[in-house]
């Protein structure tokens, strides 16, 4: 255990996008430079921690048991789009090109970083498919080697008989994912999805 300041800095440094220097700046800002902001932040974090959770169905971000997409009865529940991260879901929602539901894996298979199937939100995808409502699975995973391998894995091990599997990725920046594509590209990628096996 170090000092309180060091502990805070260490915790901040683990957040995505923050290195040692930016974690230090953030900690100093909140504690010393503008301490009046600290209470608002703590309160916002506390409320968010209570109210925001993973959607029980898709793994997206929800304030109730289900996220707004899953609880929207106008969405087409027979199509499920599999994405790597919540930000990918958000990007697809912004494009308004898609009317089905989602499933967020929170990662992709990556043996080099030690990420295996059990580390991904795959078990609940299997359950959803077995429930029988889903007719089509759209894989919107990055078109790099790990994203493609994850697609193979899902096709061969999760998607059973009676579910059509298609892949978008054509037209998306190579090695990149849904998050980095603009709405027009996303729409054309969705329109030109190809069946996958």
């Amino acid at each position: 255990m170090g000092s309180a300041f060091e502990d805070l800095q260490a915790v901040l440094k683990k957040l995505p996008g923050l290195g040692y220097r930016s974690a230090e700046r953030l900690a100093l800002h909140l504690l010393v430079e503008r301490p009046e902001r600290l209470n608002a932040l703590v309160e916002a974090l506390r409320r968010a921690a209570e109210d925001i959770r993973r959607c029980r169905l898709c793994g997206g971000m929800a304030e109730e048991e289900l996220c707004p997409v899953c609880s929207d009865s106008h969405r087409d529940a027979s199509v499920v789009c599999v994405v790597e991260q919540v930000v990918d879901l958000m990007a697809l929602e912004r494009s308004s090109a898609y009317r089905g539901l989602y499933h967020v894996l929170h990662g992709k298979l990556s043996p080099i970083s030690g990420v295996g199937p059990e580390d991904l939100n795959l078990a609940s995808l299997g359950e959803r498919l077995r429930s029988g409502d889903v007719r089509e699975l759209v894989l919107a995973l990055p078109n790099d080697v790990e994203g493609e391998a994850t697609c193979h894995y899902i096709t061969e091990n999760i998607a059973g008989e009676g579910v059509a599997v298609s892949r978008i990725g054509f037209g998306l920046p190579s090695g990149g994912g849904v998050f980095y594509a603009d709405p027009v590209t996303l729409k054309s990628a969705l329109d030109s999805r190809r069946s996958y096996s």
Partner: protein, 373 residues
């Protein structure tokens, strides 16, 4: 492509030099360690944005200096008269400016300013490990075709993932997912290599007959020690069958990453049965074929950088060698002694202690030395 001039600053042992290249053939004479090869190293650096002698860029910076710099002016088939400036920091960090604009992705330079280096060490391509030959082939095909490079990278990412899975004893489902991702690239690599070698072989055979002075067929062949698989499905099957053995070895035993190039002369192994002279002629012919290949694939005529290559050749081969390189391409050659070149298109430059002095064209014996500044 013609190199019009080059300016070096703190590059290896060269404190500062500006060399203007008039004509096509230049010969640099000097004792070893004076800077001849350092110059060729600088001239060839832009080819793949790396030295042909070392992977450690910081070694190119003159001792005690913060950075090395090289500025080149080209007469380029595609870009016309164009100028490239390279800077290498003492920690090996590099920046490139192309016509005064900073190149943000250094990879974009690769393949645009090709040269072909001939070195006495090339003999290692015959005698050394398969990895050397594979690397030569991959660098050449990547420089001419960026799609080849992408497929190669894709394959290696898949391979690295599969090897990690093998070591952590992952299950068949995960292995299968990555094997399927490697299979397409493996198949495409195989096809691209076969096609590239066919093209290289045409030039190689011709160059060898000229240079070797014997009517013997020189041939490059792809050898696949792990498997003869070609189609993606064949690779998938091969890797699936090999999982147990691969787990034991802790690495994938079959695949394009194990390919070797077999150098054959009249159907016999050059490494095993070739004489010293045959082996040296073969690698020189290989470099000439490489130059043809680059030219056919990119439309660019690569300058030839000849680093003391004739020292080990016998008289007949040496004579034929100089005749062979006296073509259209610009040539930069080095040697400890001034050779009998038999044509007067050559300009000579004396190299000593990192400085360069052109000999004037006035008959030797005159005081016609101009110091390059």
């Amino acid at each position: 492509m013609i190199l019009r001039d080059v300016t070096l600053q703190n590059f290896r042992n060269v404190a500062e030099a500006r060399l203007v290249f008039e004509g096509r053939r230049h010969f640099f004479v000097g004792a070893n360690g004076q800077g001849k090869t350092n110059l060729l190293e600088a001239l060839g650096y832009l080819t793949a944005l790396r030295s042909f002698r070392t992977a450690e860029n910081r070694l190119l910076v003159r001792e005690g200096q913060p950075e090395a710099a090289a500025a080149y002016t080209f007469e380029h088939e595609r870009f016309g008269r164009t100028r490239v400036t390279l800077r290498i920091g003492s920690r090996g960090n590099r920046t490139v400016h192309w016509d005064d604009e900073r190149v943000s992705r250094l990879g974009d330079i690769i393949g645009r300013f090709p040269t072909v280096v001939f070195s006495a060490d090339d003999i290692q391509l015959v005698r050394g490990a398969p990895g050397l030959r594979r690397r030569w082939m991959d660098l050449l095909f990547s420089a001419v075709d960026s799609a080849y490079f992408q497929v190669l990278q894709q394959y290696h990412r898949g391979l690295t993932a599969r090897n990690a899975l093998l070591r952590e004893r992952a299950g068949a489902a995960e292995l299968s997912a990555f094997e399927r991702e490697m299979a397409g690239p493996a198949s495409r690599l195989g096809k691209a290599r076969e096609a590239g070698l066919r093209e290289l072989n045409v030039s190689l055979e011709k160059a060898y007959r000229h240079l070797g002075g014997e009517d013997a067929a020189a041939l490059l062949e792809l050898r696949k020690p792990g498997s003869a698989a070609q189609a993606p499905e064949e690779w998938i099957e091969r890797w699936c069958e090999g999982r147990d053995r691969d787990r034991q070895a802790g690495a994938t035993q079959a695949g394009p990453h194990r390919d070797d190039l077999h150098f054959g002369l009249e159907g016999r192994s050059l490494a095993r049965y070739g004489s010293e002279g045959q082996q040296r002629s073969f690698v020189i012919a290989l470099r000439l074929a490489q130059a043809d290949y680059v030219r056919a694939g990119t439309g660019l005529l690569p300058p030839l950088l000849l680093d003391d290559v004739t020292a080990e050749l016998d008289g007949g081969r040496r004579e034929r060698f100089w005749a062979l390189v006296a073509g259209e391409a610009q040539v930069f050659a080095t040697g400890v002694m001034r050779p009998e070149l038999g044509d007067d298109a050559w300009r000579f430059c004396r190299v000593a202690g990192g400085t360069f002095a052109w000999e004037s064209r006035i008959a030797s014996g005159e005081c016609g030395i101009r110091t390059a500044q």
